[in-house]
């Protein structure tokens, strides 16, 4: 399969993970499982980001021995896109922050009602 290059494969994996994440978020009743689904969703998105920066046959965006330093413009033709890699770093950190907070919430919710079923927490409605 000539046109199924690495970028496409990882893109596909990213999408699949996102779908799985959404499935978990929407159908799991246990709050911890929902949180895990969120991390799967985040991971999917992160893979998506990185794969969109991928260019076939190129190296990491670090100018060292692996980049033939003939001239400056050569860097242009030998590395993958550095921007998505920077963005994914931010996305990961944000995901970490949100997950940490969600877990703290889960602890408090459990303390409140001694259950982690999400449909038990509907005090506010209508």
């Amino acid at each position: 399969m000539e046109y199924l290059n690495l970028g496409k494969i990882s893109l596909l994996i990213g999408f699949i993970l996102i779908i799985i994440g959404f499935w978990g978020i929407l159908s799991q009743k246990n709050i911890i499982k929902i949180i895990v689904s969120f991390t799967i969703l985040d991971t999917g998105i992160n893979i998506l980001i990185v794969s969109l920066g991928y260019i076939k046959g190129r190296t990491a965006p670090i100018i060292d021995a692996s980049v033939p330093q003939l001239a400056d413009h050569n860097v242009l033709n030998s590395i993958v896109d550095p921007v998505p890699q920077a963005l994914v770093l931010t996305a990961i950190v944000i995901g970490f922050g949100v997950t940490a907070l969600l877990l703290a919430y889960a602890m408090k919710l459990f303390k409140a009602k001694r259950t982690l079923e999400i449909n038990q927490f509907n005090d506010l409605k209508w």
Binding site: I49, Y105, N119, F121
Partner: protein, 1043 residues
């Protein structure tokens, strides 16, 4: 100029430092936080000042020293400065409000709050898509944290729902962002706007994902359960900040991002906004809890903002003016409201009755309610006006209907709530305490609301011409509210007198006539106020507010001034009406019909305004497009005030339950405002180049039927004041009918009725009101024989009903005579007969009025009542004198009026010769009739007197003659159910069809709301499902077909 980057640097620097410095104490951290917020406010407001009062140009701030798109940049322009100043001001005040709440949670809470406000600033300023995402996440996380300053599981639940919902939204935004970057090679929003992203399928989807995320941040109905829970579940101090500051940031984010899609999304945004605005407000109607109600209202306002944004092509350059007006009002008033809820702590709306234990709080609440509904002088009034005018000018009639419907729904629940606060039973044993740091921010907001309202008016071409002097007088009376009645009454009367003296020379004809009714009538009815003791707190400001509105109507030269006056008058009269003991439901229905009427007027004016070069009131005379609609809407609006049949149901309760001196104000005087409007519309129609006779024909029927139903209903009232109220409906029907005839004679009839009704209805309401004050009941069968105790009142009522009934010799007959001439000349025989027969019905209730109250047997408990108060007698007899003059010398008034009418109705079918009036049908003279009738009366009187010399007085216990059982007079009293026989004949006409119809409508709205709100099941997972469903539905609606 301090660079806006210092907003970020200061907040973060201080935030990080508090980690260590916080050891010095919680209060230290708090004060440091407030100082930083103060600094942030200073920076943004300095820019704002420079933009609006200097010649500052928009400035980019480059981070890392590189130009965009290489590096992230921030933009500080006029809009950004405005928005971030708003956010910072609210942030600062919120920090003060929540100072001790944060303190209880430790220094970290201050840090989170500081970072929260900072992140919203960046969301406003940044021009980088990914940076926007990052700071949006910061604000979401901070929100999820700050929700927790409220104790209890509800807050935890709300926070959890909020964080999972926003996580989904930000995931969608992130996917969109990364694909947008992939296709354009840039993350700069300006680059994305310039790029041709939407030409490729992938780019199209990326734009969709970005925009849907921005839309979801605006909490669109129905995918907003999480948003509602945050408003309801978190501490109200913080809900206020979310409602104000986060909403501002979300709006601006959508505003920025919308350009990426060009104009192609405007329509969708408008529809989404409309659905949200109406949906949220509809559900608000059913809501019983204060917190949740405010949540619905906040979401409704977000919907309105989206609606405005979506309709930006209609608004053109006025977009920002409208947005700023709505946003400012919403921000200040809603924030204040949330904070008020935080202080008062009453859960259900009914429990809000406790707020009036501290009248100042009631004042604050009233201010917020009227600001949110868009009453003058608040900025939203001007914004709404401009919005509707611009929409009409560009043909957006459907949108006008949407906006007015949503606003109306909002008015329903706010005024119901306010009604509870003013009037519901307060028998709760909990109270509320006020601490300075909680109330100070609210007072500041309120002051800002008034000041900005005034400044908004001064900065618009239209508003600058509005006369604020009467309003300042209202404010002065507010400040003097602590004084006793006697002094305040004197001040009010003198103020109105002076005002009238100065305004008098500038008026003539129509304006003069109505100004005399409003002002002289106002002074006369105020005189009755001397009869009251104590402080009568709150009465004078609102009474003068109504008169300020009324005189504003007269002085108005432009449509905006007219509408301004109309709304002030409505507000003032609402407060007057709700003062009555059992007035709560009646004041609400009065207000709702008034608001609906005002919106009809607004819509009518907006249509009239199309294609006009001037904003003067003269555009009514020259409506160029859709004249039937424009005049129809205007007339409908005015008819809500004259209480025509079908939309009359508010009047009996409102007038009947009002205080004794308020009834004449709202009946004899206020109803004339509607008449004035009708006349203005009809003048316009008379000059119109279009054939509008079908409209006047309908109006004529409306008038005729109103007379019939009003009079018949009046007959069966046991309550004297309600009887007079129904009578008013009938009398106003006469007036409308007469004007609808659209001939010189018809109008002359109309004016005669206007003047007559003003005088005799004021006399009757004042007298009956004064009697009620003495005997302590409204029920006529509980009175009787009062002629012996209060002969002066009897004479007043006798003259009043004689005049009303239209029998010679008083001025009522003048009206009748003109009326028959006009009807015959016009050829409206059928309607004429209905009105004629209704006149006969009037005798029934008028007879009852005098017979059951003043004749018959005096009740035991009334043996010692005194004559009605001198302070009522003075205005009553002054008006009677006027009535007599008008009866004897009608030509003094009618001749100039006839000449004036000739300007519009040039038939010239009446000719005056001294005291004689000639028409094609015959002639008549006022003084002549008076003398004739006087002579006949005298002769008959003498004959009877001579022929009945043997007659003797009936004693009370002479049952054979008096026909009353003294032990239970109310059941066998002839006055009780007096016209039972007549009722059998006409009962089909007394079926309260209009009441049933409106009840059915109310029921329908409540059922719809009750059914719809079930989607808010409280389950966080369901809310996430709503969000993703919303996304895919919108996907298939918007771009699904084009890929």
């Amino acid at each position: 100029m301090v660079s806006p980057i210092y907003i970020v640097a200061a907040a973060l620097g201080v935030g990080f430092a508090i980690g260590v410095l916080g050891k010095l104490g919680k209060n230290f951290s708090g004060i440091l936080t407030l100082l930083t917020l103060g600094f942030m406010t200073y920076v943004s407001s300095e820019w704002l000042y420079a933009f609006y009062f200097g010649d500052q140009v928009s400035t980019y701030v480059f981070t890392a020293g590189y130009k965009p798109p290489i590096s992230i940049n921030l933009l500080m322009g006029p809009q950004e400065a405005f928005m971030s100043t708003l956010i910072n001001v609210i942030g600062l005040l919120g920090g003060i409000y929540l100072f001790f709440n944060f303190g209880r949670k430790g220094r970290n809470a201050f840090v989170v709050y500081l970072v929260f406000i900072m992140s919203l600033n960046v969301v406003i300023m940044t021009r980088d898509l990914f940076n926007l995402f990052v700071f949006l996440e910061i604000s979401s996380i901070a929100t999820a944290g700050l929700i927790l300053i409220e104790k209890g599981n509800r807050a935890v639940g709300a926070g959890f729902k909020y964080i999972i919902a926003t996580s989904i939204i930000s995931s969608i935004l992130l996917i969109g962002t990364i694909f947008a970057y992939f296709y354009t090679g840039s993350l700069n929003i300006d680059d994305l706007v310039k790029s041709d992203l939407t030409t490729t399928t992938g780019g199209l989807i990326a734009v969709f994902l970005i925009l849907i995320a921005a839309i979801l941040e605006m909490k669109p109905f129905p995918a907003n359960g999480w948003g509602l829970d945050v408003y309801e579940g978190s501490h109200q101090g913080f809900s206020a900040v979310v409602s104000a500051a986060t909403a501002t940031a979300s709006y601006f984010m959508l505003y920025k991002l919308l350009d990426i899609a060009g104009n192609s999304w405007d329509h969708y945004i408008a529809v989404i906004g409309a659905v949200t605005f109406i949906g949220a407000n509809l559900l608000g109607v059913k809501q019983k809890f204060a917190r949740r109600l405010l949540a619905y209202s906040s979401i409704g306002q977000l919907g309105l903002l989206m609606l405005i944004l979506g309709l930006r092509t209609y608004l053109g350059d006025n977009l920002n003016y409208v947005v700023f007006g709505i946003l400012l009002t919403n921000l200040l008033a809603k924030t204040g409201f949330f904070w008020l809820v935080g202080i008062v702590k009453a859960k259900t709306l009914k429990e809000w009755a406790i707020i009036r234990r501290k009248p100042f709080f009631l004042f604050l609440m009233g201010t917020f309610v009227f600001a949110l509904i868009g009453f003058p002088p608040f900025p939203s009034f001007f914004a709404k006006w401009t919005f509707v005018m611009d929409l009409a000018a560009n043909g957006g009639f459907v949108w006008i209907a949407v906006i007015l419907t949503g606003s109306f729904l909002e008015a329903i629940y706010y005024f119901r709530w306010f009604g509870y606060a003013v009037k519901a039973d307060d028998n709760y044993n909990f109270s509320f305490n006020v601490r300075w740091h909680k109330i100070t921010p609210i007072i500041l907001l309120t002051a800002l609301l008034y000041i900005i309202g005034y400044l908004t008016a001064q900065h618009t071409e239209l508003g600058r011409m509005i006369n604020f002097i009467p309003l300042f007088f209202v404010l002065i009376l507010f400040a003097l509210d602590f004084l006793p009645v006697f002094i305040k009454n004197t001040i009010a009367i003198i103020g109105m007198g002076i005002y009238f003296y100065f305004i008098y020379p500038s008026l003539s004809d129509l304006k003069l006539l109505f100004e005399v009714i409003f002002m002289i009538g106002g002074i006369l009815t105020l005189i009755a106020g001397y009869a009251y003791k104590g402080k009568r707190s709150g009465f004078y400001p609102v009474a003068i507010l109504m008169y300020a509105g009324l005189t504003g109507l007269i002085e108005a030269n432009t449509t905006l001034q007219f509408f301004f006056g109309w709304e002030l008058m409505t507000a003032g009269s609402y407060f007057l009406i709700i003062r009555g003991k059992r007035s709560m439901p009646h004041a609400l229905s009065y207000m709702l019909f008034s608001v609906a009427g005002a919106y009809a007027i607004l819509a009518g004016i907006s249509i009239a305004n199309i294609g006009q070069l001037t904003t003067s009131l003269s555009i009514f005379n020259n409506i160029q497009y859709f004249p039937q609609w424009a005049y129809g809407l205007l007339l409908f609006g005015f008819l809500t005030k004259t209480a025509s049949v079908g939309i009359h149901i508010w009047l009996p309760g409102a007038h009947g339950e009002a205080e004794s001196d308020v009834s004449p104000m709202v009946s004899a005087i206020l109803l004339k405002a509607g008449v004035y409007g009708v006349i203005l519309a009809l003048i316009g129609m008379s000059k119109s180049q279009y054939d509008l006779s079908s409209l006047t024909y309908i109006l004529g029927w409306v008038g005729a039927l109103t007379v019939l139903f009003g009079n018949i209903s009046a007959v069966f009232q046991e309550d004297a004041k309600r009887l007079l109220a129904y009578s008013s409906i009938g009398q106003l029907g006469y007036i409308v009918f007469a004007f609808a005839i659209m001939t010189q004679l018809g109008w002359l009839t109309g004016f005669t009725y206007v003047i007559n009704h003003f005088m005799y209805k004021a006399v009757l309401f004042l007298t009956i009101g004064a009697v009620v004050l003495r005997v302590g009941t409204h029920n006529m069968y509980e009175m009787g024989g009062l002629i012996k105790r209060m002969p002066l009142a009897f004479v007043a009522v006798l003259i009043g009903i004689t005049s009303l009934s239209g029998v010679p010799p008083l001025s009522g007959f003048t009206g009748k005579w003109l009326f028959y001439n006009a009807v015959i000349e016009k050829g409206w025989y059928f309607q004429g007969v209905i009105v004629f027969l209704s006149g006969g019905v009037a005798f029934l209730y008028l007879f009852r009025l005098i017979q059951t109250i003043f004749l018959g047997q005096l009740k035991d408990n009334h043996r010692n009542v005194k004559e009605i108060s001198i302070w009522f007698l003075i205005p009553i007899y002054t008006l009677l004198a006027g009535l007599m003059v008008f009866s004897a010398r009608p030509q003094w008034v009618l001749q100039p009026l006839g000449d004036m009418i000739a300007n519009y109705m040039p038939q010239n079918s009446i000719r005056w010769d001294g005291a004689y009036a000639y028409t094609a049908i015959g002639h008549w003279t006022g003084s002549g009739v008076m003398m004739t009738i006087g002579s006949v009366f005298l002769i008959v009187f003498l004959i009877l007197k001579l022929s009945t010399r043997k007659a003797h007085k009936i004693k009370q216990f002479d049952i054979v003659y008096s026909g009353e059982r003294p032990d239970r007079p109310d059941t066998t009293h002839v006055a009780y159910n007096m016209y039972a026989g007549f009722y059998k004949a006409v009962w089909p006409l007394t079926v309260p069809l209009a009441e049933r119809f409106w009840n059915w409508m109310t029921e329908l709205v409540h059922e719809a709301a009750g059914f719809t709100r079930r989607i808010y099941s409280g389950n966080g997972q369901a809310y996430m499902l709503h969000i993703v469903l919303y996304i895919i539905v919108l996907f298939f609606i918007t771009i699904g077909s084009s890929i």
